[in-house]
């Protein structure tokens, strides 16, 4: 079963690498934000899989924290939607 968890971790790592490639290539800023959002989700998945791989399931608290940080990022994105910029001086 450990081999299977390792395969899953490698697949998640490959996906994270592909998201990073899109974040580097992305022609618009929205592509980069999309890739960054996907990277955060994959980080949560990777922490969960690695915690089961090592047999230390208390790492799951860190994954919970990371998903909450994704929520904070979503709130920042909503601000980006309403004002069009992250800074207060733009408007």
């Amino acid at each position: 079963m450990n081999n299977l968890l390792a395969i899953t971790a490698i697949a998640v790592l490959v996906t994270m690498t592909l998201a990073l490639i899109r974040a580097c290539l992305g022609p618009t800023v929205f592509d980069r934000v999309l890739a960054l959002n996907m990277f955060g989700t994959k980080t949560v998945l990777l922490i969960c899989v690695v915690s089961f791989l090592n047999g230390r399931t208390d790492f799951l608290d860190l994954a919970l924290l990371y998903s909450l940080m994704n929520f904070i990022g979503m709130v920042a994105l909503l601000k980006f939607t309403t004002t069009g910029t992250f800074s207060e001086e733009g408007f």
């Binding site: 079963m1 697949a11 996906t15 989700t41 998945l45 939607t81």
Partner: protein, 123 residues
């Protein structure tokens, strides 16, 4: 029967983990290969829903205590709540900034539109 049940649970977990890995890699290939922003959101959505959901289901099948399974389910719940919301906010923001979908296949000229209507009328 008592020793058959963990075997079935392992097989179920194996299936979920492999399917989740496959969907995650497919979404990763999609976000690199698809031609424009709005279609790349589709690749990101695959990994956020099917990939994460299946991998978490496989991990829940392997968890040895109720607390671990509960933590996994709570994490999955937060992912399910936040990921579509941020995707929606991002698409809304991109549209508000004038990023047009390039793969818009609806006919733009009036002649084409009439022809499409004539084709659709018998249906």
């Amino acid at each position: 029967m008592a020793e058959l049940f963990p075997l079935a649970l392992d097989a179920l977990s194996c299936f979920f983990l492999i399917a989740g890995s496959v969907f995650a890699v497919i979404g990763g290939i999609g976000i690199v290969r698809l031609p424009e922003f709005y279609s790349r959101m589709h690749g990101s959505g695959i990994t956020d829903t099917l990939g994460a959901g299946l991998i978490f289901a496989g991990l829940v099948c392997q968890s040895d205590s109720v607390l671990v399974a509960f933590k996994l389910i709570v994490t999955l719940f937060f992912l399910i709540v936040t990921s579509p919301s941020s995707c929606h906010a991002l698409a809304h923001s991109a549209l508000a900034h004038g990023l047009k979908p390039e793969l818009d296949v609806m006919p733009r000229e009036s002649g084409d539109a009439i022809r499409v209507e004539e084709q659709q009328r018998p249906l």
